[in-house]
């Protein structure tokens, strides 16, 4: 991965260890690194809650030819473009993040509740999530906690 070349094309970005932090144009960046370098696997997408409805997404890419990892980080306001058409595995990751963080991926039509019941309110891994669903046994009103 040639950082200088990358920075020349996408100027709004910075390097933190082996993590590239970008502000926008996710699809452009992912398309660029897959087309110009050998990153052909998306190992996972890691989501982190940043508070105030913002979520950081870290795309962990891997090159099976050069055996190299690359992390691309972007912070979004609850909505971001899907890359499921570039990496099939993203479909699963995006669905999981939708279920637990409530981030909407435009272009991914498969988003649905995965682990949580279909009528569940809220997204459990957000920091502002309140556990008050009456279906949880410890929320049945009989105990104070």
């Amino acid at each position: 991965m040639n950082w200088n070349e990358f920075q020349r094309i996408f100027n709004d970005c910075e390097l933190d260890g082996n993590k590239i932090i970008i502000k926008s144009n996710l699809r452009g960046v992912i398309g660029f690194v897959t087309a110009n370098y050998t990153y052909n696997m998306l190992k996972e997408i890691i989501a982190n809650d940043k508070g105030e409805g913002r979520t950081e997404l870290i795309y962990h890419m891997y090159s099976t030819d050069d055996e190299e990892d690359l992390f691309i980080s972007i912070t979004v306001d609850g909505e971001v473009e899907s890359i499921a058409d570039i990496f099939e595995s993203a479909k699963a990751d995006e669905n999981e993040i939708y279920d637990l963080f409530g981030v909407k991926f435009t272009g991914n039509e498969n988003l649905k509740r995965l682990y949580m019941p279909e009528d569940w309110k809220g997204f459990p891994l957000r920091k502002d999530y309140v556990q008050d669903d009456t279906r949880l046994v410890w929320n049945d009103g009989n105990n104070e906690a």
């Binding site: 190992k43 982190n48 595995s89 479909k91 459990p124 891994l125």
Partner: protein, 364 residues
């Protein structure tokens, strides 16, 4: 009735081959599968949410349950995160103990898979043979750790107590190669087994990479990607790569059989070292009031079902701000969407079984 009538079939929500609860919603035309939609979440325990409310030492015993057939690998990952944060270098003996137990765990996991997979295909006997050998390994773990499945034996900076009962391990690895030969005699060239598996569920390499498939399933499609080659824990161990080019269910079966032999080889080396090694000297990290310095931590390992990884973001508290697991099976389940299309219903069981999916790992 018209010939083109479509049928929706619920496969599950239960099936023995999946070692857990999985529901596949299949759309059929005759016996041909038109589409497949996996429905998961029946075993969701909120492992990631739990981590945010527990201190690291409280969380450690629970991570074995992410994959209860190969619990060691997940304890190892969490220990690795903490060791990374405090820059602890493991002594050689601890490395050898961990490698030996990880590989024993890998064999027991593959053995269960061999038995369950063959039972799915209608062969009952291999199940009992595989469980007979698995029992030897579980007995050893029970003797050593007090537990048959959730060992909780690795701790931050080392292992809970010194290794013991090495003669049991010696017996296991002296018996296993012959037993694996026996399996191969009754399974590998069996004409019924060949008809059910060879040429079925062909997973092309670029499809596998695009679906983030790792581990044995990827290596049976022809790519030598094994994290053990670069893992510091396995430094100094000599073992070969198991890479096959068959891409079908049969290749995935054969790769697991070969991998068990390779694991026996690794255990052999670890055992030779441990037999003459001095008493255990390790510097454990004090788990009380353990606070990880602020920052992101990442560790990955070659688990029996593909690459497993753990990501921790710490804000300097005694608990993680965010902890994420990556498990191999999660991607294998989603691969079924693609792999089952165009296959016949009776092959669906063979194909889903050959990927070695375990549901607690998928649902976390």
């Amino acid at each position: 009735m018209t010939a083109t009538m479509k049928l929706k079939l619920n496969l599950g929500p239960q099936h023995p081959s999946t070692h857990g609860v999985l529901r596949l919603i299949l759309e059929l035309e005759g016996e041909k599968i038109l589409s497949c939609e996996p429905d998961i979440g029946y075993l969701h325990r909120g492992m990631e949410k739990m981590a945010e409310k527990m201190s690291y030492i409280q969380y450690l015993p629970t991570v074995d349950r992410i994959d209860y057939l190969a619990g060691c690998f997940y304890s190892e990952l969490l220990c690795r995160i903490v060791e990374q944060a405090f820059e602890v270098e493991l002594p050689d003996k601890v490395r050898a103990i961990r490698v030996m137990l990880l590989e024993l765990n890998r064999i027991s996991s593959h053995l269960l898979w061999v038995g369950a997979f063959l039972m799915d295909l209608g062969a009952i006997s291999p199940y009992f043979y595989a469980f007979r050998e698995r029992e030897m390994i579980l007995r050893y773990f029970e003797k050593l750790t007090g537990q048959r499945m959730m060992y909780n034996y690795f701790v931050f900076g080392g292992v809970r107590k010194d290794i013991a009962y090495l003669e049991d391990v010696e017996e296991i690895i002296s018996v296993l190669p012959d037993k694996i030969n026996d399996y191969e005699k009754i399974i590998t060239e069996n004409p019924i087994f060949l008809k059910r598996t060879s040429g079925k569920g062909v997973l092309e390499l670029d499809t596998a990479v695009n679906h983030a498939i790792t581990g044995v399933n990827l290596r049976a499609s022809g790519l030598n990607y094994d994290l053990r080659n670069i893992d510091y824990l396995y430094k100094g161990f000599d073992f070969g790569a198991v890479v096959l080019d068959g891409k079908d269910c049969w290749a995935r079966y054969k790769a697991r059989i070969m991998e068990m032999r390779e694991s026996v080889n690794i255990i052999h080396q670890a055992l030779e070292y441990l037999k003459s090694a001095p008493a255990l000297e390790q510097k454990l990290i004090n788990p009380l009031n353990l606070k990880l310095p602020e920052g992101d931590y990442y560790a990955e390992i070659e688990a029996p079902r593909g690459l497993a990884s753990c990501f921790v973001r710490s804000l300097g508290d005694d608990r993680p701000y965010r902890l994420k697991w990556r498990t191999g099976s999660y991607y294998s389940v989603n691969l079924l969407r693609k792999l089952l299309v165009g296959e016949y219903l009776n092959d669906a069981i063979a194909i889903a079984g050959s990927l070695d999916i375990i549901l607690p790992e998928v649902d976390k």
